[in-house]
């Protein structure tokens, strides 16, 4: 079975199991037209030549995969094509997707996307990101997911800066049916989170999710504040935070790499939540982030509903990138 078939099968399987219902609707457009599109591209370029590669390059760039990553990928592809003496575009498609998945996974196994939480004691999740990425909303959805799994969840309203942020988290708390620990707007976020930890300990909660204010990564003071929050968590609960999730807007371009890097330096990010993937943006930059910084995507946001946070499926993701790429190619004809 060729690689693309495997990928397709994998995708079909998830469909029928109904696990990724949202994935399906989120990427329906691309999925339906996939087989015809790939044939079109293959038909258009019988030969694997410079034009073919150029179009491929542009298509990947249009998915925000990133210039450097794309250049490397194209170079590798060219080499591979030469090595295997591939002349037919039909054969090259397997190589393309192979390489894309390879970029994502590197040498790691494929189980890196799971949330790493303690089984029988308190786990702490710290949620960070720039302004407007969707932190509070993602926390609401995550709380709901964990509650559904039967976990006792508490939220800490650590965004004490933005107007209305605490109220926003409270609404999500109500919807998900979980308690929210808060202080007044303008108070010290580290203190709120300290309170949250105390509450979580005394109520024997399974998971504490800490919200933080959005901050641009080049604001030194704010990044220092985040490092302090992390230190407070480390001090209060050994081994915590168990996850530090960077919330990333899928529409973000190359700056996402800088975000991932700087937030990691301040708070040691363990995973990414890729939000707003239900639009036309493809969030291809996570390939570069995974490739360069070894930070995996753990969840994707596919809508505004409570159920719209899904575990990341790299195969489906790469499939989506690839399918869309073919669509773009066709548009240009």
């Amino acid at each position: 079975m060729s690689f693309m078939d495997k990928l397709k099968n994998k995708f079909k399987k998830t469909d029928t199991e109904g696990v990724s219902e949202k994935y399906k609707t989120g990427m329906e457009k691309t999925r339906n037209s996939f087989s015809s599109k790939i044939n079109d591209l293959i038909a258009k370029y019988r030969k694997v030549d410079e034009d073919f590669f150029e179009e491929l390059e542009e298509a990947l760039i249009s998915a925000d995969v990133g210039v450097m990553t794309v250049m490397d990928l194209i170079d590798e592809l060219k080499l591979e094509v030469k090595r295997r003496n591939i002349k037919d575009t039909k054969e090259v498609r397997d190589v393309i997707s192979e390489k894309l998945v390879e970029i994502y996974y590197g040498d790691d196994n494929e189980s890196i996307e799971k949330l790493e939480l303690n089984e029988n004691q308190l786990s702490i999740i710290l949620v960070v990101g720039v302004n407007g990425a969707g932190k509070t909303t993602s926390i609401g959805k995550l709380a709901h997911n964990l509650k559904q799994e039967g976990k006792h969840v508490i939220l800490a309203a650590g965004d004490t800066f933005r107007a209305g942020a605490i109220e926003q988290l409270e609404v999500w708390g109500e919807r998900a049916g979980v308690e929210v620990v808060k202080q007044r707007e303008g108070s010290d976020p580290a203190a709120v989170i300290f309170d949250g930890i105390k509450a979580a300990k005394s109520r024997k909660a399974d998971v504490l999710i800490c919200d933080t204010a959005g901050r641009l990564q080049n604001k030194v003071n704010l990044m220092n504040e985040l490092a302090k929050v992390r230190r407070v968590i480390e001090r209060e609960v050994p081994g915590a935070p168990h996850e530090v999730l960077l919330v990333l807007d899928a529409t973000t371009g190359q700056n996402a790499l800088s975000q991932a890097k700087t937030f990691s330096e301040a708070a040691n990010v363990s995973g990414i939540v890729l939000t707003k993937l239900d639009g036309t943006a493809k969030g291809g930059i996570v390939l570069a982030i995974r490739h360069e910084l070894q930070i995996p995507v753990k969840f994707v946001g596919l809508g505004e509903g409570m159920e719209d946070l899904q575990e990341f499926d790299a195969h489906a993701f790469v499939y989506g990138l690839f399918a869309d790429m073919l669509e773009t190619s066709e548009d240009e004809e």
């Binding site: 990133g66 407007g132 926003q168 080049n218 529409t251 371009g253 190359q254 800088s258």
Partner: protein, 447 residues
């Protein structure tokens, strides 16, 4: 170099051809390739890049460049002209309706910064144009969005109109205008919910609001960090609503902001304002030509000059120059000067605006700790008048007292004294030589 700025990249390439007597077609090709990569890395949409490169190539290979005496300079000129032409001229005027109130609608994706920008725009309208805006909370979907706008209204001491989350945004907007008329508010700013451009139901809702309130301005609020998708977003919103302008937010981040070029190219609509920070007065007029020259690494000199002019009293500056010449520069003057620098805004901003600053090693990505500045200030303020006038009277006891008074240490005081001394020497050298060669690195004590 993933984090290398667009400016660096172009400068590096341009350096290769500057000084060359003649530019070959191959040179131009090589350079446009670099320009292309740099633009793509800056998130300019690939289709926009393609057109731009084509034009640059055509002009560069033509007579204009190849037969000129300074081909390198010419190419830079061509690139800059093309970028500037693409960005368009400055347009920051806000519509004024013939009959009050003027209605402004804010639209955009989730998390772009609509609500914050609504507050900032209201503040600007009041401060700069002496208007009295009414803010309207039409985001009935996102939890606590109304609350957020109400809090901003309180901070600004401005009225906010809301009807809760159970009334349709169309009705809220319509009622708000009636209210503004009745209460003589001359501007109405409608904050709408964030939505995806492919969400047809919600896009229809915006069209309906538009049809009902007939806004004089529709601002599309876009995150400056947006990648390739910026064209899709801008195109959809523009097609469906015929927007009148764009507000680019989060430009105070370290993004290269190529989205600005993309949006302008696909919509043809002007980018009017730029969000430069989280505070409510940090909405600035967007200067397209300056953005273009910033992209080229020529520094945002104009902004710098403008800022300096606005904040530095010319008479004071003359006096200072006189003092520098006569060596009577004291700590009092120093304090005053620092105050003026601070008034111009964050030092990091000033540095990035300085031409060539991004080329100086160590200056690049420099993060000036504003706290350091206040330490320096505290030290000077803890000095007696006599000490400020004549630092040579300083002794151990005085230093100890100053350190205590300013909450710093004696070594910090010592360091400042030494730096001040060096600075004075530098000044002397500079004024003596006028167009002097570079000394051993002039440094402000707080850097």
């Amino acid at each position: 170099m993933a984090f290398e700025g667009l400016a660096d990249r172009l400068q590096h390439t341009i350096k290769k051809i500057t000084g060359k007597g003649k530019v070959s077609e191959q040179d131009v090709k090589e350079m446009t390739r670099e320009v292309r990569l740099a633009l793509l890395e800056a998130d300019v949409n690939f289709k926009v890049v393609k057109d731009l490169i084509k034009r640059i190539k055509e002009r560069s290979i033509g007579q204009e460049v190849m037969e000129s005496l300074t081909p390198g300079q010419q190419v830079i000129k061509v690139v800059k002209e093309e970028l500037t032409a693409l960005m368009g001229g400055e347009q920051s005027k806000i519509a004024v309706a013939d009959r009050s109130p003027t209605v402004i609608m804010m639209v955009g994706l989730q998390g772009a910064g609509k609500t914050t920008t609504t507050g900032k725009l209201a503040n600007l309208l009041r401060k700069k144009y002496n208007r009295s805006p009414l803010l309207v909370a039409c985001d009935i979907y996102r939890p606590a969005a109304i609350n957020q706008l109400e809090t901003l209204g309180k901070q600004l001491d401005m009225p906010v109109f809301s009807m809760g989350t159970d009334v349709s945004p169309i009705e809220i907007a319509t009622k708000a205008i009636e209210k503004a008329k009745a209460e003589h508010q001359d501007y109405v700013i409608i904050d709408t919910a964030g939505r995806l451009h492919v969400d047809q139901n919600l896009m229809d809702e915006l069209q309906e609001i538009k049809a009902n309130v007939k806004p004089d301005e529709i601002f599309l609020v876009v995150d400056a960090m947006t990648g390739q998708d910026a064209v899709n977003v801008a195109e959809s919103f523009n097609d469906q609503l015929d927007i009148s302008g764009v507000v680019l937010t989060k430009l105070d981040g370290d993004t290269r902001g190529g989205a600005a070029l993309s949006i302008k190219a696909v919509t043809g609509k002007p980018i009017k304002f730029a969000g430069m920070g989280e505070k409510l007065d940090q909405l600035e007029v967007f200067h397209p030509e300056r953005m273009a020259s910033r992209i080229l690494g020529m520094g945002d000199v104009l902004t710098l000059i403008e800022k300096a002019q606005a904040n530095v009293d010319e008479k004071q500056a003359k006096e200072l120059e006189e003092k520098m010449r006569t060596m009577s520069f004291t700590f009092d003057d120093f304090l005053e000067q620092m105050g003026q620098v601070k008034k111009m805004g964050p030092l990091e901003d000033l540095l990035t605006m300085m031409p060539g600053a991004n080329k100086v090693k160590g200056l690049k990505n420099v993060q000036i700790d504003e706290k350091q500045l206040s330490h320096v200030e505290a030290i000077v303020q803890s000095m007696t008048k006599q000490e400020r006038q004549d630092p040579s009277i300083m002794n151990a006891n005085r230093k100890k007292r100053i350190a205590k008074g300013s909450g710093t240490s004696v070594s910090q005081v010592n360091r400042l004294l030494k730096q001040f001394d060096e600075m004075k020497k530098m000044m002397k050298q500079m004024t003596n030589m006028q167009k002097g060669k570079k000394g051993k690195g002039f440094k402000f004590p707080f850097m």
